[in-house]
Protein backbone atom coordinates (compact mmCIF):
# COMPACT_ATOMS: atom_id res chain seq x y z
CA UNK A 1 0.00 0.00 0.00
CA UNK A 2 1.64 3.21 -1.20
CA UNK A 3 -1.26 5.67 -1.10
CA UNK A 4 -3.91 5.34 1.57
CA UNK A 5 -7.61 5.55 0.73
CA UNK A 6 -8.21 8.98 2.26
CA UNK A 7 -5.34 10.52 0.32
CA UNK A 8 -6.55 9.01 -2.95
CA UNK A 9 -10.15 10.08 -2.39
CA UNK A 10 -9.07 13.64 -1.62
CA UNK A 11 -6.79 13.67 -4.67
CA UNK A 12 -9.47 12.60 -7.15
CA UNK A 13 -12.12 14.85 -5.63
CA UNK A 14 -9.76 17.79 -6.10
CA UNK A 15 -9.21 16.76 -9.71
CA UNK A 16 -12.96 16.75 -10.28
CA UNK A 17 -13.50 20.06 -8.49
CA UNK A 18 -10.95 22.20 -10.34
CA UNK A 19 -12.78 22.10 -13.71
CA UNK A 20 -16.11 22.55 -11.92
CA UNK A 21 -14.79 25.60 -10.07
CA UNK A 22 -13.41 26.99 -13.27
CA UNK A 23 -16.65 26.47 -15.17
CA UNK A 24 -18.95 27.80 -12.43
CA UNK A 25 -16.81 30.95 -12.12
CA UNK A 26 -16.73 31.54 -15.87
CA UNK A 27 -20.49 31.04 -16.22
CA UNK A 28 -21.26 33.12 -13.15
CA UNK A 29 -22.93 30.32 -11.17
CA UNK A 30 -21.53 31.82 -8.03
CA UNK A 31 -23.71 29.90 -5.55
CA UNK A 32 -22.31 26.68 -6.94
CA UNK A 33 -18.83 28.17 -7.14
CA UNK A 34 -18.93 29.02 -3.45
CA UNK A 35 -20.30 25.59 -2.45
CA UNK A 36 -17.69 23.75 -4.50
CA UNK A 37 -15.07 26.22 -3.28
CA UNK A 38 -15.89 25.52 0.34
CA UNK A 39 -15.74 21.80 -0.39
CA UNK A 40 -12.31 22.34 -1.92
CA UNK A 41 -11.31 24.35 1.13
CA UNK A 42 -12.29 21.37 3.30
CA UNK A 43 -10.28 18.96 1.12
CA UNK A 44 -7.18 21.17 1.16
CA UNK A 45 -7.45 21.59 4.92
CA UNK A 46 -7.83 17.83 5.38
CA UNK A 47 -4.78 17.24 3.21
CA UNK A 48 -2.72 19.72 5.22
CA UNK A 49 -3.73 18.08 8.51
CA UNK A 50 -3.09 14.68 6.92
CA UNK A 51 0.40 15.89 6.13
CA UNK A 52 0.97 16.13 9.89
CA UNK A 53 -0.90 13.13 11.32
CA UNK A 54 -1.52 10.92 8.26
CA UNK A 55 0.17 7.84 6.85
CA UNK A 56 3.93 7.87 6.24
CA UNK A 57 3.67 8.64 2.50
CA UNK A 58 1.23 11.49 3.20
CA UNK A 59 3.33 13.20 5.86
CA UNK A 60 5.32 16.34 5.11
CA UNK A 61 8.31 15.75 7.39
CA UNK A 62 9.67 12.68 5.53
CA UNK A 63 8.98 14.51 2.27
CA UNK A 64 11.08 17.49 3.31
CA UNK A 65 13.92 15.12 4.19
CA UNK A 66 13.76 13.56 0.74
CA UNK A 67 14.49 16.90 -0.92
CA UNK A 68 18.05 16.35 0.31
CA UNK A 69 18.56 13.56 -2.21
CA UNK A 70 17.18 15.61 -5.10
CA UNK A 71 20.51 15.84 -6.92
CA UNK A 72 21.16 12.11 -6.74
CA UNK A 73 17.65 11.43 -7.96
CA UNK A 74 17.97 13.78 -10.92
CA UNK A 75 21.23 12.05 -11.93
CA UNK A 76 19.38 8.74 -11.89
CA UNK A 77 16.62 10.18 -14.06
CA UNK A 78 19.21 11.36 -16.58
CA UNK A 79 20.16 7.72 -16.97
CA UNK A 80 16.54 6.84 -17.69
CA UNK A 81 16.19 5.17 -14.30
CA UNK A 82 13.07 6.36 -12.49
CA UNK A 83 14.19 4.32 -9.47
CA UNK A 84 10.79 3.74 -7.84
CA UNK A 85 10.55 5.57 -4.53
CA UNK A 86 8.20 4.48 -1.78
CA UNK A 87 5.97 7.53 -1.69
CA UNK A 88 6.88 10.76 -3.44
CA UNK A 89 10.21 10.97 -5.23
CA UNK A 90 12.38 13.98 -4.30
CA UNK A 91 11.16 15.74 -7.45
CA UNK A 92 7.52 14.89 -6.79
CA UNK A 93 7.87 16.36 -3.31
CA UNK A 94 8.51 19.75 -4.89
CA UNK A 95 5.48 19.33 -7.09
CA UNK A 96 3.28 18.35 -4.13
CA UNK A 97 4.36 21.34 -2.08
CA UNK A 98 3.90 23.74 -4.99
CA UNK A 99 0.43 22.37 -5.78
CA UNK A 100 -0.71 22.41 -2.17
CA UNK A 101 0.64 25.93 -1.73
CA UNK A 102 -1.18 27.15 -4.84
CA UNK A 103 -4.40 25.41 -3.80
CA UNK A 104 -4.17 26.88 -0.31
CA UNK A 105 -3.68 30.35 -1.78
CA UNK A 106 -6.60 29.79 -4.17
CA UNK A 107 -9.13 28.75 -1.53
CA UNK A 108 -7.96 31.34 1.00
CA UNK A 109 -8.21 34.27 -1.43
CA UNK A 110 -11.60 32.92 -2.59
CA UNK A 111 -12.99 33.21 0.93
CA UNK A 112 -12.25 36.95 0.88
CA UNK A 113 -12.99 37.73 -2.78
CA UNK A 114 -15.57 40.31 -3.82
CA UNK A 115 -16.80 40.64 -7.41
CA UNK A 116 -16.65 43.98 -9.23
CA UNK A 117 -20.36 44.67 -8.66
CA UNK A 118 -20.33 43.96 -4.92
CA UNK A 119 -23.05 41.37 -5.48
CA UNK A 120 -21.05 38.21 -4.85
CA UNK A 121 -18.47 37.59 -2.17
CA UNK A 122 -16.78 34.86 -0.20
CA UNK A 123 -18.02 34.15 3.34
CA UNK A 124 -15.14 35.99 5.04
CA UNK A 125 -15.35 39.11 2.85
CA UNK A 126 -17.58 40.76 5.48
CA UNK A 127 -14.39 41.31 7.46
CA UNK A 128 -12.78 43.54 4.84
CA UNK A 129 -13.58 46.56 2.68
CA UNK A 130 -14.81 46.46 -0.90
CA UNK A 131 -11.40 47.58 -2.19
CA UNK A 132 -9.48 44.94 -0.21
CA UNK A 133 -11.96 42.31 -1.36
CA UNK A 134 -11.28 43.34 -4.94
CA UNK A 135 -7.57 42.89 -4.37
CA UNK A 136 -8.20 39.40 -3.04
CA UNK A 137 -10.24 38.71 -6.18
CA UNK A 138 -7.33 39.91 -8.33
CA UNK A 139 -4.94 37.51 -6.59
CA UNK A 140 -7.61 34.79 -6.83
CA UNK A 141 -7.70 35.26 -10.59
CA UNK A 142 -3.91 35.54 -10.98
CA UNK A 143 -3.17 32.57 -8.77
CA UNK A 144 -5.63 30.46 -10.76
CA UNK A 145 -3.29 30.79 -13.75
CA UNK A 146 -0.41 29.67 -11.58
CA UNK A 147 -2.48 26.73 -10.38
CA UNK A 148 -3.28 25.75 -13.96
CA UNK A 149 0.40 25.96 -14.91
CA UNK A 150 1.37 23.70 -12.00
CA UNK A 151 -1.37 21.22 -12.88
CA UNK A 152 -0.07 21.21 -16.45
CA UNK A 153 3.45 20.51 -15.17
CA UNK A 154 2.14 17.75 -12.91
CA UNK A 155 0.37 16.00 -15.80
CA UNK A 156 3.34 16.47 -18.14
CA UNK A 157 5.65 14.88 -15.59
CA UNK A 158 3.34 11.88 -15.23
CA UNK A 159 3.25 11.53 -19.02
CA UNK A 160 7.06 11.62 -19.20
CA UNK A 161 7.32 8.90 -16.56
CA UNK A 162 4.81 6.83 -18.50
CA UNK A 163 6.24 7.20 -21.99
CA UNK A 164 9.95 7.77 -21.42
CA UNK A 165 10.65 5.97 -18.15
CA UNK A 166 7.93 3.31 -18.59
CA UNK A 167 6.75 3.94 -15.06
CA UNK A 168 2.98 3.82 -14.54
CA UNK A 169 2.25 6.26 -11.75
CA UNK A 170 -1.50 6.62 -12.19
CA UNK A 171 -2.35 3.04 -11.26
CA UNK A 172 -1.07 3.27 -7.66
CA UNK A 173 -2.93 6.58 -7.24
CA UNK A 174 -6.13 4.72 -8.20
CA UNK A 175 -5.68 1.37 -6.50
CA UNK A 176 -3.30 2.46 -3.75
CA UNK A 177 -0.97 -0.45 -4.45
CA UNK A 178 2.35 -0.95 -6.09
CA UNK A 179 4.32 -4.16 -6.26
CA UNK A 180 6.80 -4.60 -3.41
CA UNK A 181 9.34 -5.92 -5.92
CA UNK A 182 9.52 -2.46 -7.55
CA UNK A 183 11.29 -0.97 -4.56
CA UNK A 184 15.03 -1.34 -4.01
CA UNK A 185 14.56 -2.31 -0.36
CA UNK A 186 11.95 -4.51 1.28
CA UNK A 187 12.35 -2.60 4.51
CA UNK A 188 9.37 -0.28 4.00
CA UNK A 189 7.84 2.06 6.59
CA UNK A 190 4.49 1.27 8.17
CA UNK A 191 1.94 2.98 5.96
CA UNK A 192 -1.47 1.59 6.89
CA UNK A 193 -4.44 3.90 7.25
CA UNK A 194 -5.50 4.30 10.85
CA UNK A 195 -9.04 5.09 11.72
CA UNK A 196 -8.53 7.54 14.56
CA UNK A 197 -6.35 10.05 12.69
CA UNK A 198 -8.66 9.96 9.65
CA UNK A 199 -11.68 10.72 11.79
CA UNK A 200 -9.82 13.46 13.65
CA UNK A 201 -8.55 15.14 10.47
CA UNK A 202 -11.92 14.89 8.71
CA UNK A 203 -13.79 16.21 11.76
CA UNK A 204 -11.41 19.13 12.16
CA UNK A 205 -11.62 20.07 8.47
CA UNK A 206 -15.41 19.74 8.47
CA UNK A 207 -15.73 21.86 11.61
CA UNK A 208 -13.70 24.64 9.97
CA UNK A 209 -15.82 24.50 6.80
CA UNK A 210 -19.04 24.71 8.82
CA UNK A 211 -17.70 27.54 10.97
CA UNK A 212 -16.68 29.55 7.91
CA UNK A 213 -19.87 28.95 5.95
CA UNK A 214 -21.94 30.12 8.95
CA UNK A 215 -19.67 33.05 9.63
CA UNK A 216 -21.26 36.39 10.35
Amino acid sequence: MVWDGALRLVHWLMVALVPLLWWTAEEGHMDWHKSFGLTMFGLVLFRLIWGLIGTWTARFAPMVQRIGSLNIYIKKLRNRDSGATFGHSPLAVLSVFALLLALTAQVTTGLFSVDIDGLESGPLAVLISFETGRQFAAVHELNFNLLLALIGLHITAIAIYYFVLKDRLVEPMVTGHRSRADFPTSDLPENRLQLLPVIAAAALALACVIAISNFG
Partner: protein, 171 residues
Protein backbone atom coordinates in the same frame (compact mmCIF):
# COMPACT_ATOMS: atom_id res chain seq x y z
CA UNK B 1 16.21 23.00 5.22
CA UNK B 2 16.05 26.68 4.28
CA UNK B 3 17.75 26.12 0.98
CA UNK B 4 15.34 23.34 0.20
CA UNK B 5 12.38 25.58 0.86
CA UNK B 6 13.88 28.20 -1.43
CA UNK B 7 14.18 25.62 -4.16
CA UNK B 8 10.45 25.26 -4.47
CA UNK B 9 9.51 28.79 -3.46
CA UNK B 10 11.62 30.37 -6.17
CA UNK B 11 9.78 28.99 -9.20
CA UNK B 12 6.48 29.91 -7.53
CA UNK B 13 7.61 33.45 -6.85
CA UNK B 14 9.07 33.79 -10.31
CA UNK B 15 5.76 32.68 -11.76
CA UNK B 16 3.94 35.29 -9.72
CA UNK B 17 6.32 38.02 -10.80
CA UNK B 18 5.91 37.02 -14.43
CA UNK B 19 2.14 36.96 -14.25
CA UNK B 20 1.90 40.30 -12.53
CA UNK B 21 4.30 41.76 -15.06
CA UNK B 22 1.95 40.70 -17.87
CA UNK B 23 -0.96 42.24 -16.00
CA UNK B 24 0.93 45.50 -15.63
CA UNK B 25 1.73 45.96 -19.30
CA UNK B 26 -1.88 45.24 -20.20
CA UNK B 27 -3.07 48.01 -17.92
CA UNK B 28 -0.73 50.75 -18.99
CA UNK B 29 -1.99 50.79 -22.56
CA UNK B 30 -1.02 53.80 -24.62
CA UNK B 31 -3.68 56.49 -24.36
CA UNK B 32 -4.59 57.82 -27.79
CA UNK B 33 -5.28 61.47 -28.55
CA UNK B 34 -9.03 60.93 -28.68
CA UNK B 35 -8.95 60.74 -24.88
CA UNK B 36 -8.71 64.51 -24.70
CA UNK B 37 -11.49 65.16 -27.25
CA UNK B 38 -14.27 67.27 -25.76
CA UNK B 39 -17.79 65.81 -25.82
CA UNK B 40 -20.98 67.86 -26.42
CA UNK B 41 -21.58 67.78 -22.64
CA UNK B 42 -18.31 69.63 -22.00
CA UNK B 43 -16.40 66.66 -20.52
CA UNK B 44 -13.43 65.06 -22.22
CA UNK B 45 -13.77 61.42 -23.20
CA UNK B 46 -11.40 60.47 -20.44
CA UNK B 47 -13.34 62.44 -17.83
CA UNK B 48 -16.63 60.89 -18.96
CA UNK B 49 -15.35 57.33 -18.76
CA UNK B 50 -13.70 57.88 -15.41
CA UNK B 51 -16.79 59.62 -14.03
CA UNK B 52 -19.09 56.73 -14.92
CA UNK B 53 -16.68 54.18 -13.59
CA UNK B 54 -16.53 56.16 -10.36
CA UNK B 55 -20.32 56.09 -9.99
CA UNK B 56 -20.50 52.38 -10.77
CA UNK B 57 -17.76 51.60 -8.30
CA UNK B 58 -19.68 53.44 -5.58
CA UNK B 59 -22.73 51.32 -6.41
CA UNK B 60 -20.58 48.19 -6.13
CA UNK B 61 -19.36 49.38 -2.75
CA UNK B 62 -22.91 50.06 -1.54
CA UNK B 63 -23.93 46.59 -2.70
CA UNK B 64 -21.18 44.96 -0.74
CA UNK B 65 -22.34 46.84 2.35
CA UNK B 66 -25.89 45.54 1.84
CA UNK B 67 -24.73 42.01 1.03
CA UNK B 68 -22.52 41.94 4.17
CA UNK B 69 -25.48 42.85 6.35
CA UNK B 70 -27.82 40.39 4.64
CA UNK B 71 -25.31 37.62 5.38
CA UNK B 72 -25.10 38.56 9.06
CA UNK B 73 -27.20 36.76 11.65
CA UNK B 74 -28.64 40.09 12.86
CA UNK B 75 -28.36 42.65 10.04
CA UNK B 76 -27.76 46.30 10.89
CA UNK B 77 -30.72 48.03 9.21
CA UNK B 78 -29.23 51.51 9.43
CA UNK B 79 -26.24 50.42 7.36
CA UNK B 80 -28.47 48.78 4.75
CA UNK B 81 -30.62 51.91 4.55
CA UNK B 82 -27.68 54.26 4.08
CA UNK B 83 -26.21 52.04 1.37
CA UNK B 84 -29.53 51.48 -0.42
CA UNK B 85 -30.15 55.23 -0.50
CA UNK B 86 -26.88 55.91 -2.32
CA UNK B 87 -27.72 53.57 -5.24
CA UNK B 88 -30.51 55.63 -6.95
CA UNK B 89 -28.42 58.76 -6.43
CA UNK B 90 -25.30 57.26 -7.97
CA UNK B 91 -27.29 55.79 -10.89
CA UNK B 92 -29.08 59.05 -11.68
CA UNK B 93 -28.65 60.22 -15.28
CA UNK B 94 -26.92 57.01 -16.34
CA UNK B 95 -28.46 57.33 -19.84
CA UNK B 96 -26.12 60.24 -20.43
CA UNK B 97 -22.90 58.51 -19.35
CA UNK B 98 -22.34 56.70 -22.63
CA UNK B 99 -22.16 59.34 -25.36
CA UNK B 100 -20.87 58.32 -28.78
CA UNK B 101 -17.07 58.04 -28.72
CA UNK B 102 -16.65 56.75 -25.16
CA UNK B 103 -16.18 53.12 -26.16
CA UNK B 104 -12.97 51.06 -26.22
CA UNK B 105 -11.88 52.74 -29.48
CA UNK B 106 -11.11 55.84 -27.40
CA UNK B 107 -8.01 54.10 -26.06
CA UNK B 108 -9.09 54.62 -22.46
CA UNK B 109 -9.45 51.51 -20.37
CA UNK B 110 -13.16 50.70 -20.42
CA UNK B 111 -15.20 47.52 -20.33
CA UNK B 112 -18.01 49.14 -22.32
CA UNK B 113 -18.54 47.05 -25.47
CA UNK B 114 -19.06 48.71 -28.89
CA UNK B 115 -22.50 47.03 -29.30
CA UNK B 116 -23.85 49.56 -26.79
CA UNK B 117 -23.96 52.09 -29.64
CA UNK B 118 -25.63 49.64 -32.01
CA UNK B 119 -28.68 49.20 -29.83
CA UNK B 120 -28.89 52.24 -27.65
CA UNK B 121 -32.67 51.79 -27.11
CA UNK B 122 -32.28 48.37 -25.54
CA UNK B 123 -29.30 49.63 -23.55
CA UNK B 124 -31.31 52.55 -22.17
CA UNK B 125 -34.27 50.24 -21.39
CA UNK B 126 -31.93 48.14 -19.29
CA UNK B 127 -30.69 51.24 -17.48
CA UNK B 128 -34.32 52.18 -16.81
CA UNK B 129 -35.05 48.72 -15.40
CA UNK B 130 -32.10 49.05 -13.06
CA UNK B 131 -33.06 52.53 -11.91
CA UNK B 132 -36.61 51.35 -11.15
CA UNK B 133 -35.33 48.34 -9.23
CA UNK B 134 -32.86 50.49 -7.29
CA UNK B 135 -35.60 52.97 -6.34
CA UNK B 136 -37.76 50.10 -5.12
CA UNK B 137 -34.85 48.61 -3.17
CA UNK B 138 -34.35 51.98 -1.50
CA UNK B 139 -37.97 52.38 -0.43
CA UNK B 140 -38.19 48.75 0.75
CA UNK B 141 -34.96 49.22 2.72
CA UNK B 142 -36.38 52.28 4.46
CA UNK B 143 -39.48 50.20 5.39
CA UNK B 144 -37.16 47.77 7.17
CA UNK B 145 -38.37 44.21 6.38
CA UNK B 146 -35.16 42.19 6.00
CA UNK B 147 -36.69 39.36 3.94
CA UNK B 148 -38.20 41.86 1.50
CA UNK B 149 -34.88 43.70 1.30
CA UNK B 150 -33.14 40.45 0.43
CA UNK B 151 -35.59 39.81 -2.42
CA UNK B 152 -35.34 43.37 -3.76
CA UNK B 153 -31.54 43.17 -3.58
CA UNK B 154 -31.58 40.03 -5.72
CA UNK B 155 -33.90 41.67 -8.25
CA UNK B 156 -31.72 44.76 -8.48
CA UNK B 157 -28.60 42.65 -8.89
CA UNK B 158 -30.37 40.80 -11.70
CA UNK B 159 -30.90 44.06 -13.58
CA UNK B 160 -27.14 44.77 -13.37
CA UNK B 161 -26.34 41.31 -14.66
CA UNK B 162 -28.84 41.60 -17.52
CA UNK B 163 -26.88 44.52 -18.90
CA UNK B 164 -23.36 43.33 -18.04
CA UNK B 165 -23.87 39.97 -19.76
CA UNK B 166 -24.51 41.76 -23.03
CA UNK B 167 -22.76 45.11 -22.89
CA UNK B 168 -19.77 44.76 -20.56
CA UNK B 169 -16.54 42.97 -21.34
CA UNK B 170 -15.79 40.05 -19.02
CA UNK B 171 -12.99 40.90 -16.66
Amino acid sequence: MNRCKLQFMLPVLAGFALLSACEQTAETDVVSETAAVELPNGMTVKEQIEARQGHLKKIGKAFKAISDQLKAGSPDLAQIQTAAATVPTEAMGMNDWFPEGTGPASGIKTAALPIIWEDKTDFNDKIGAMQDAAAKLDSIAQAGDVAAIGAAFKTTGGTCKACHDKYRKDD
